[in-house]
Symmetry: D2
Subunit: 348 residues, 4 copies
Amino acid sequence: MLSAAVIGASGYTGGELLRLLHGHPELRVVLATADTQAGSPVADLYPSLAAAYPDLSYSPFALNDPVLNGADVAFLCLPHGASQAIVPELVTRVRWIVDLAADFRLRDASLYPSWYREAHTSPELLDRFQYGLPELYRDQIKQANLVAAPGCYVTAATLALAPLLAAGALEPTGIVVDAASGVSGAGRPSKPTTTFCTVDEDFTAYGLLDHRHTPEIEQNLTAAAGRPAEVLFTPHLAPMNRGILATCYARPADGATPSTESLLQRLHDAYDGEPFVRVSERSPSTKATLGSNAAHLTARFDPRTGWVVVITALDNLVKGASGQAIQCANLMAGLDETTGLPTVGLYP
Amino acid sequence: MLSAAVIGASGYTGGELLRLLHGHPELRVVLATADTQAGSPVADLYPSLAAAYPDLSYSPFALNDPVLNGADVAFLCLPHGASQAIVPELVTRVRWIVDLAADFRLRDASLYPSWYREAHTSPELLDRFQYGLPELYRDQIKQANLVAAPGCYVTAATLALAPLLAAGALEPTGIVVDAASGVSGAGRPSKPTTTFCTVDEDFTAYGLLDHRHTPEIEQNLTAAAGRPAEVLFTPHLAPMNRGILATCYARPADGATPSTESLLQRLHDAYDGEPFVRVSERSPSTKATLGSNAAHLTARFDPRTGWVVVITALDNLVKGASGQAIQCANLMAGLDETTGLPTVGLYP
Amino acid sequence: MLSAAVIGASGYTGGELLRLLHGHPELRVVLATADTQAGSPVADLYPSLAAAYPDLSYSPFALNDPVLNGADVAFLCLPHGASQAIVPELVTRVRWIVDLAADFRLRDASLYPSWYREAHTSPELLDRFQYGLPELYRDQIKQANLVAAPGCYVTAATLALAPLLAAGALEPTGIVVDAASGVSGAGRPSKPTTTFCTVDEDFTAYGLLDHRHTPEIEQNLTAAAGRPAEVLFTPHLAPMNRGILATCYARPADGATPSTESLLQRLHDAYDGEPFVRVSERSPSTKATLGSNAAHLTARFDPRTGWVVVITALDNLVKGASGQAIQCANLMAGLDETTGLPTVGLYP
Amino acid sequence: MLSAAVIGASGYTGGELLRLLHGHPELRVVLATADTQAGSPVADLYPSLAAAYPDLSYSPFALNDPVLNGADVAFLCLPHGASQAIVPELVTRVRWIVDLAADFRLRDASLYPSWYREAHTSPELLDRFQYGLPELYRDQIKQANLVAAPGCYVTAATLALAPLLAAGALEPTGIVVDAASGVSGAGRPSKPTTTFCTVDEDFTAYGLLDHRHTPEIEQNLTAAAGRPAEVLFTPHLAPMNRGILATCYARPADGATPSTESLLQRLHDAYDGEPFVRVSERSPSTKATLGSNAAHLTARFDPRTGWVVVITALDNLVKGASGQAIQCANLMAGLDETTGLPTVGLYP
């Protein structure tokens, strides 16, 4: 049995880690930190976890906390920027780290000031983190000690487009990723934009042109295509708790003769051996992935307009966050990749 | 006071006409037909209308109904195909007709078999119907006796793109319209795809590549551009009662040097005199239009990827259906165009 | 045309007053105060109101504001306690005041410290305020200059039970009022208990045993019964924007021989002449009242268990707040009571 | 490994059994019948189950189906009345049967015609079925071959009140159970009362005075009290997928001197050893039980009005249906009662 510390365990991705790790036979939670909740029982903030963690209380974060230093894995569920501040020291104390924030996802440190409005404070560590998308980088994750797990939008867009770009089927430029997210993607703290009465019965776009996850999508698609990818990403907020649907539009590569069948076949080739990715002709529904680590995909080619459409649905808190982080930790720790991860969704 | 007949008054667009006409000082409902509800009080199906129509019951539809024949305006709120069957006779009996279905919206009769899977049964009448989008065809509607009012998706996409195409600012091909609709767009009858437990907490795309409203969007944009427009349209279903958000992607025309400011300026030029269309820098929210005849728009140009994004929000049952139909009827009848139409939304 | 000042116009009841007054032919908004939003356009906070108030900005509240002093009616939409602070001075400056808070609703000043945890600072004014439930106190409201309009839960419970108590049909003690409210009842400011992810897909009771509106319900029912009424009130939070449903349980009075028919008849007798209250055998639905000033009621007698059940549905922001306030203002100003008030709900 | 047949596996309780049994280490699904879906893959109806049951298709129900006859446990998830028709034969073929319908829940056959409007067709079997609420009848269930598992409302009300009645703390008459349910309680088939646009943003009572589960609640409370219990039960429909909240009102027994503390203590005494029931001072939230087999309870005594309030929250499809059925099957089969049952909810 390995021990896990959840750093930043009061937010939704931290809470989801606690939920999933409760069902994990090889990873046991020994520490849940949350400075704002320090001292209070986890069950007070999350009554849903009361039976699982009757005696666990939030701790303040402290680098020299002996429980933290004795942990095998640390999952970092902190706001952007906070991981950078603690990782330089933490890497010397914990065997495996999975960061769920964006702090170590971009290879090019210069993208941080332009997209995140602040320079990276530990750029020398960027190269030491492995990007944690198992479907693309499984072998590298197995060798890694430090993993930066991608988030919901990027996972959805990358799973949709990377195999088709890698196969040379699509142009890497002119891509549009139009996506909708449930509200949990905005985090647990209350704010005017996510009160029930603001969000319920509303659908709206946000982050027009400048959403921070754009360069990460481009980084992944560039790697897949072998040449620079360019993406316009438009996220929307949908009145639901969880779920991401990414509807991606791209052009066939010059000389390609695509069809819906050939696109689906390439996705099947890429994913039919994957435990968590499912390709079908059916239009994916976020609800079918609720609570599971699954990603559902489909694709179409429209001969009339020449557009390729690829759609991914997943649960933003599982395959788009905490489930993916556990999947990476499983690989790093030499466990079966699927250990403790649900493939079945809650329905309805 | 003019008299109005609502044909097909048990569905949501019919019910919405009854709601709006109750507040209309010049149009009085004299007939509400619904074969499946014939004989039962309107208030039984719509308790929300009980105070407005305490004594109104649904009638069966009959061409020779004297009440119908004495009506000044007939609003047709029927399933696709049903208007074609009755209009050839109805035109001889009622002074003004507004059809809310797609039966008389396409100029090119050959599009019906390819997109609606059945030939038009009265193609000779297509030319006699005026397309009912007042912001584009106000003068023609004033002269018309027969109007085909456009629906929610098409109104949203057309308002977004037509002025920019007419100004030569956009390429008319390669356009993507990615839209989300509330569930009332699917109509009142119960079906497996619209039960609460299917839709709630779900977001999904439907009608991939072949949604029937595609050729109508293309017809409008072609007219605006003066050359053939080509659109890929992807509708999604969002877990809310009402509302359409259309996020439209297009390329600047060759030689154009667009900017967000210039795009917004063109939209302001087109719409600042309009009573129901509002342009702003703010990302439109469907909820801000709830229950009103308003359409809210914004636009962006992304110099990084070269994409133009234009977004429209509106209430699918008001500006996207029954409000628009009344707006047309007002124009046809020589009334002030805004008579009886709310500009203020219900919030929250 | 009379002029109206909305004091505290950034919250939901203030916003709803702006919405409703826009359609009021005799009352014109001349002032909207909101200290936290002072200087910013109303349309920025409420895009739904943009077309109605293109030039209105929030003002800071100032007793000597000449616009306020020139207003005919002031509607106070302030947090509990704030009205007490300004009313002693305001009564000398404005002709009619309608307070939407609880500050002047209770006749017995000693109830404030026990239920609101603070003593009333202007108890001498309590007698000068008329309780603003037109269905019970129409004539008195017509004579009043100062009205304390009741809120959503109290209106629902009082409309349900007062006529039956007044008729001697029910025991005034042992009453249970079990009610559910939409989230807008909790106000606009964001807080952990009303974020979307907390509330959506949840149903929970709150304010167990000690909700502040309990003594106000008892005050009304005591007045109706002519002897002390005693009520246990349990509110619940339902995942919806608007709406109150109050399910009220009471015992028949000693010697009464009730039946569902006789209960319904008494309610019909009380309300059939009322413009906004509708009695029927149908189980009331909050949705049927959405956006309207309507209250829908039904009643049952269960011969098996001896319980009487009376149910009211209404829109908490209209008949439960801002619509009721306008109804009172209409009466005070000698206007037709229904002026500017919708009787028709938005559906779906 | 034991084998399980799910009879009526296309509905929500059947689908939930498939979800839960996928995670059960000792029970394997060998048959899923659904006459209306016969031949089609389970994954077509429930894409959420695709990864769990890639090769399972619905079978038509046939008593002589060898797979059925070889099953260790049959779970019956059929509409009321259908179990009665097949159980007389099925009992000779399958070792353990858990019926999730009401067919074998009532001891008194005469209650069926009065509450279910049809006589029971196999009254002789009523005595052979053990009522399947493990918290009350654990030892009897262990000995049983035939179990009738109670549903959501009854489980919630019984868990709330039975221990207090058994302890003599409450009067068994004059009880009010006011409850709200998510929409999945109405089943999967589409109907006008459960379309999204009917239910969303609505709260309404239904089944006034005559809901079928009333006599079952009374049966359980009578057994607990040792004398006839009498309950008025009012269910409501809330706009959410899952969840039951039962708010129960009762009077202290004559001579009892209750307090909130003593009520909570009695509930703690009854349930602190239970794996799935959790008592606390906190007002229970349905959302905290989502997807888990948990029931959360609290209680209050109001010295002012003399009422006792006890509240239960649970997931209607898990502890209120399929989870409870598996809990019973575990007991019958000699397995650990908690095998395969989640105690942790999905949040948010």
